[in-house]
């Protein structure tokens, strides 16, 4: 079965010749939702609309967007929106495409969100590595400001909204919403203890909404086409489309926007062209490197948040990493834990020490120096890393390792027994 539903977020971006300029965006239906929202809806009606649409956060946690907005105290005189454009989850590259190829769709989404929640100042926290994306956004902001979509008295509505671009400087943890806020305040991006949640005390200790790029980019479409239309795509609990970034051992890696209810099998074998060179599938990470791994037995799972959770993994950021039969899972563990070790902000002992231990042990097993008892030590460390820290980076490092051991324990034991990696050099991996 092939899902051939229309694209929503990437429709314009993937139209040949589309430049993403304001003129191009406007000529293809852009900036039509903003005046509709301003003229036909009261702010709280926009919140209701988004609640009814079922839109959930596309950054990782899948939290309902309208509900998040609803937590912001209405009467607060100063509140902020932060657009999380710090896409750093290994395997995810959809926000980069949305930023570089259709920046005004994002800006229109930010404006609608600000109007709904009564916010006058928004910051786009853009990953430091996105130099090109930042230039594109900077230009888009200037152009939108010049025609009165941003600034004072937008489209004569009496509503003032300012959007600023803020570039980060390279730190995965700044994708965590309170890490992002700390970084935006000019500090180390170390997550805050919650509560208080950002909805109560966020940027500059004021009520703050933090929404992902893809989440915000959906808003113009929901305003124009209605909550029911959006809720009719996907499943009752996971609505709309999702942009799945497919990478690794597939014939056609890339971003695929599909109803969130698409199956993992269809995504990999129909859309991404299947496993490269006719090889067999060994493992799939379905939601960025923090997500527990799945195997060929899970291919019929659908990609909605509930189904992936029921299969023991998670939807995360939508980054789908495919691995064929030549892949060594110990090496995968080594590479993934090296990342978390590097990115741990260091303030919680369980995470700082735990990520280092996981990486050190996996690296030695991979190079043939594993010791009896190493697997028990790994699992023990994982147990001590989960649910015990300020943010979930620690969990995000522990859960994948547990899953690699759950499905591929033999391979780890073989490395330790034979004092070598049986797959080393097989595919240059």
């Amino acid at each position: 079965m092939t899902t051939t539903a229309e694209k929503i977020l990437l429709r314009r971006a993937e139209t040949p010749g589309y430049t993403g300029s304001l003129a191009d965006y406007a000529a293809r239906g852009g900036y039509q939702a903003l005046p509709v929202a301003l003229r036909e809806y009261k702010p709280e009606e926009v919140i209701e609309l988004v609640k009814r649409s079922g839109l959930r956060g596309r950054g990782g946690a899948g939290f309902p967007c309208g509900m998040k907005w609803g937590f912001i105290p209405k009467a607060a005189p100063v509140k902020y929106l932060c657009c999380n454009a710090d896409e750093s989850e290994p395997g995810s590259f959809k926000d980069r495409q949305l930023i570089e190829q259709d920046p005004h769709q994002l800006l229109e989404g930010i404006l609608i969100a600000c109007y709904a929640v009564g916010i006058r100042t928004a910051y786009i926290y853009c990953r430091g590595e996105f130099a090109h994306g930042a230039r594109v956004l900077g230009r888009a902001l200037e152009d939108a400001r010049a025609v009165g979509y941003i600034g004072r008295n937008i489209l004569g509505s009496g509503v003032d909204i300012e959007i600023h671009l803020h570039r980060g400087a390279g730190a995965y943890i700044c994708g965590e919403e309170t890490g992002l806020i700390e970084s935006l305040e000019g500090k180390r991006g170390q997550p805050r203890l919650k509560p208080p949640f950002p909805a109560m005390e966020g940027l500059y200790r004021k009520p703050t909404v933090v929404n992902n790029v893809e989440t915000l980019s959906n808003l113009p479409h929901i305003v124009l086409r209605g909550a029911e239309w959006f809720a009719g795509i996907g499943t009752p609990k996971s609505t709309g489309t999702r942009i799945f970034s497919v990478s690794g051992h597939v014939e056609r890696p890339g971003n695929y926007e599909l109803p969130i209810s698409v199956s993992l099998r269809e995504l990999i074998f129909t859309h991404a062209g299947g496993v490269r060179d006719g090889r067999r599938l060994k493992a799939v990470i379905p939601g960025g490197s923090s997500a527990p791994v799945l195997t060929a037995q899970h291919l019929d799972v659908t990609m909605d948040f509930e189904s992936l959770a029921a299969a023991g993994s998670m939807g995360g950021s939508g980054g789908v990493i495919v691995m064929d039969e030549t892949t060594c899972m110990v090496r995968v563990g080594e590479v993934v834990t090296r990342f978390y070790r590097h990115e741990s902000c260091g303030q919680c002992t369980q995470c700082r020490e735990g990520t280092a231990w996981l990486h050190k042990i996996l690296a030695r097993i991979e190079r043939g120096a594993g010791r009896p008892g190493d697997l028990e030590t790994l699992l023990d460390a994982c147990e001590n890393m989960k649910g015990k820290t300020i943010c979930v980076l620690s969990d995000a490092a522990a859960m994948p390792v547990e899953s690699y051991l759950k499905y591929f324990r033999d391979e780890f034991e073989q490395h330790i027994r034979d004092r070598a990696c049986p797959l080393r050099g097989v595919a240059g991996f």
Binding site: F93, G186, S247
Partner: protein, 160 residues
């Protein structure tokens, strides 16, 4: 000393935030664009400009991978070694690049032209392996392609 033009840029940056310290990272980006890295003197000067203790500036600067605390080459190469890149041969291409440049990861070529660093995911997994040179993407890398990039950068540097 910051030039009048830089101070004007700083003022523009400051106007975006209700709290001065928020301008710190954007200002450090500007200073690094001028000097290539953040000297102790420049960080102290930024601290004074923003009314921060010098240690507060260092504390922030040392947290972020893109802020250089030591001199780097004219071209800084950031090579992704995360999972999606590794799966399609990043380590092989990186080893080749080390041979082409005659340096190991973390080093700078003796002529001061190239600094090579490993980098975490650059959000280019569909066009892996990937590296950035001074912030610009080079994707779907092969050994031949990195050689071509290095030689064109050498030519560009020789011409300037």
């Amino acid at each position: 000393m910051f030039s009048d033009e830089m101070v004007k840029t700083f003022e523009q940056i400051l106007s975006r935030y209700p709290v001065k310290r928020s301008a710190l990272i954007p200002i450090l980006h500007e200073v690094q664009a001028r000097d290539g890295y953040l000297t102790q003197e420049a960080m102290a000067e930024v601290a004074q400009y923003l009314g921060l203790h010098p240690v507060e500036v260092v504390e922030t600067a040392t947290f972020y991978d893109l802020l250089n605390l030591r001199p780097v080459g004219k071209y800084q190469i950031l090579f992704c070694h995360n999972l999606s890149c590794t799966l399609v041969g990043a380590e092989r291409v990186l080893a080749h690049l080390e041979r082409t440049l005659g340096i190991r990861v973390g080093e700078t070529t003796p002529d001061g032209l190239f600094t090579l660093k490993r980098m975490e995911c650059l959000a280019s997994c569909g066009t892996a392996p990937v590296m950035q040179v001074n912030g610009e993407y080079h994707e779907s890398l092969t050994e031949a392609k990195v050689d071509q990039i290095v030689s064109s950068l050498r030519q560009r540097a020789a011409a300037s």
